[in-house]
Amino acid sequence: MLGSGIIRGMIETGRNFVGSYFVKDRLTTVQYPEEKLAPQENARTIPFLVYDGDDAAAGLRCTACTICEQECPPKCIYIIKDKAKKPDFVGKMQLFPAVFDIDISVCMSCGICAEVCPFESIKMDQVFTLSSDTRFGSLLLHKEQLAKSNDYFRKIHPTDATAIDAERAETKSKAEAKARAAAAAPAAPAVPAAPTKAVTP
């Protein structure tokens, strides 16, 4: 029929119009900034440093091995090791950074630093409201600004965080078992002392 296409089109748009008031699912607009979409789990913007527990200084996982500084393609990480040492989650004394700066105007969000870190201490964050209104300085983040807790890490990357936490818990329990075994072993007769020493890794 002549004009049937127009009529069908108008029915469709009419249905859209009326439906948009009653069926809320039709309007898929996310009215930023009042409503925000949660980022995907593997979204990444800039790196951050993970610390365990509540104290950012004591629980910082980073041991200043500078692998991330060397692997970073645009060289945006700057690390200065501290002279002292602090214990890590197993109890072993490790170095820690005195200065850990990332220039986020240079960072290109490649995630290589997070991939290569052997201590699971630098991970990719998801914040994107990073623009500043001062010309110098605000885009250079220091260790205090970069350090965020493990709870935060678990919130933004649940899969990774739970896996890492499980692994660290296992390592910790093995280390504790070994420590208890080492503490219990000297109570045994001192004759086989040399072979036991050679066996411990």
């Binding site: 002549l2 004009g3 127009i6 089109g9 108008m10 469709e12 748009t13 009419g14 859209n16 119009f17 948009s20 008031y21 039709r26 309007l27 898929t28 607009t29 009215q31």
Partner: protein, 397 residues
């Protein structure tokens, strides 16, 4: 309730009575001008925001909803933006013509509101040739489109202007031809008389509006199509197609002059819609006898708003027509159909004067509809490139 109906007329008389007799015609004219400009100016502002919101809802999204409650102050923001933009006039453009074009567009369209009956006794000027005046004024604004395109002195604006003028003069023919049966049956060119001829009710229920007759319905649809094309609205907005010819004849305009063009276009739309309401939808008459207690200007406003909503709905639905499709629609479909409509209206009028047998109304309807529908379908099919007869296959059985 005639007090509410005539409230504006009594208000006008009171204001005019406040001044001495020698100034009274001037003050009366001035008050009417101010009233029309205020009402239709507000209408323009409301239409810009409501169009965007309705288009949004039809496209499953919100319209503008940041400025003011539900975004209703958006026209204020738009106005401030338009006024504070730099008025760039290109160095090589024709300065005088560039300046005059928005004025030549807007002023005749404001003049066109002078002859429309907005309610009972609410026509600004009751001309004997009111309808003809309206069409004459509308055709004067086409020159402004050409002036705007010419003033840019570049190929794109000129091309856009030529296409716009070609479109507008092509669609003036069906516009006027669609209005001619109305004049034929009302017996007068005066818009007040045309509204008066649509008063009263048939068989106690149905109003005597022109749209409820076969020729009236066809003429109404043709008038609306031609009106959409005359106001350069989607789906006929090729002249100002933003994605195709930059802005066509509006390329060299910015700031307040662009706002004037915008205003002129919407005012043209309002004027033609008011005319459509007057000619076909019975003007300010109520649809049913029980509803006559509502004021006449309210009915006018309601029908007007319904038609504007219809225009916005069509804009949300249909894609843009190409120029050759537009022109073939005008010349090959609308003009023959409008001429046939004249015949149908004449048959209706003649057969109305000889009521012979009961059920003659149905016969009249059938005959007039047949005059319109069958040629209409043939013309429409030929327009699509479809053959007038069903498709003949050469090799398939």
């Amino acid at each position: 309730m005639s007090n509410l109906d005539q409230v504006f007329v009594t208000l006008l008389h009171w204001v005019v009575g406040l001044v001495p007799a020698s100034l009274q015609p001037w003050v009366s004219t001035l008050v009417i001008i101010l009233a029309i400009m205020t009402v239709f100016g507000t209408c323009f502002a409301l239409t810009t925001i409501l169009e965007r919101k309705i288009l949004g809802r039809m496209q499953n999204r919100y319209g503008p909803n940041r400025v003011g409650p539900c975004g209703l102050f958006q026209p204020v923001a738009d106005g401030i933006k338009m006024l504070t933009k730099e008025d760039i006039v290109p160095f090589s453009s024709d300065q005088v013509v560039h300046f005059l074009a928005p004025l030549v567009l807007t002023i005749p369209i404001w003049l066109a509101f002078a002859v429309i009956p907005f309610g009972r006794n609410m026509t600004a000027i009751d001309l004997n040739a009111g309808l003809l005046f309206f069409f004459a004024i509308g055709s004067a604004s086409e020159l402004a489109v050409f002036m705007a395109g010419w003033a840019g002195q570049n190929k794109y604006s000129l091309l856009g202007a030529m296409r716009a003028v070609a479109q507008m003069i092509s669609y003036e023919v069906p516009l006027v031809l669609a209005a001619v049966p109305v004049v034929m049956l009302a017996g007068s060119l005066s818009l007040n008389d045309i509204v008066q001829a649509q008063s009263g009710y048939i068989a106690g229920g149905l109003p005597r509006w022109n749209v409820l007759t076969p020729w009236g319905l066809a003429a109404f649809i043709m008038f609306l199509i031609a009106a959409t094309a005359e106001s350069n609205r989607s789906p006929f907005d090729l002249p100002e197609g933003e994605s195709e010819i930059i802005a066509g004849y509006l390329t060299e305009y910015s700031g307040f002059k662009y706002a004037l063009f915008f205003l002129g276009e919407y005012m043209g739309l309002f004027a033609i819609t008011s005319l459509a309401v007057t000619l076909f939808l019975g003007g300010w008459h109520a649809p049913l006898p029980v509803l006559e207690w509502l004021p006449s200007w309210f009915w006018f406003g309601l029908k007007f708003s319904a038609l504007i909503f219809g225009f916005i709905w069509i804009r949300a639905t249909l894609p843009r027509l190409r120029l050759d499709q537009m022109l073939s629609l005008a010349w090959k479909f609308l003009v023959p159909l409008a001429l046939l409509n004249l015949l149908a209206a004449a048959v209706w009028h003649w057969s109305g004067q000889c009521r012979l047998f009961p059920g003659s109304m149905a016969v009249r309807w059938l005959v007039c509809a047949a005059i319109l529908v069958f040629p209409g379908i043939r013309l429409g099919r030929s327009l699509n490139g479809l053959s007038a007869t069903p498709r003949q296959y050469r090799y398939a059985k």
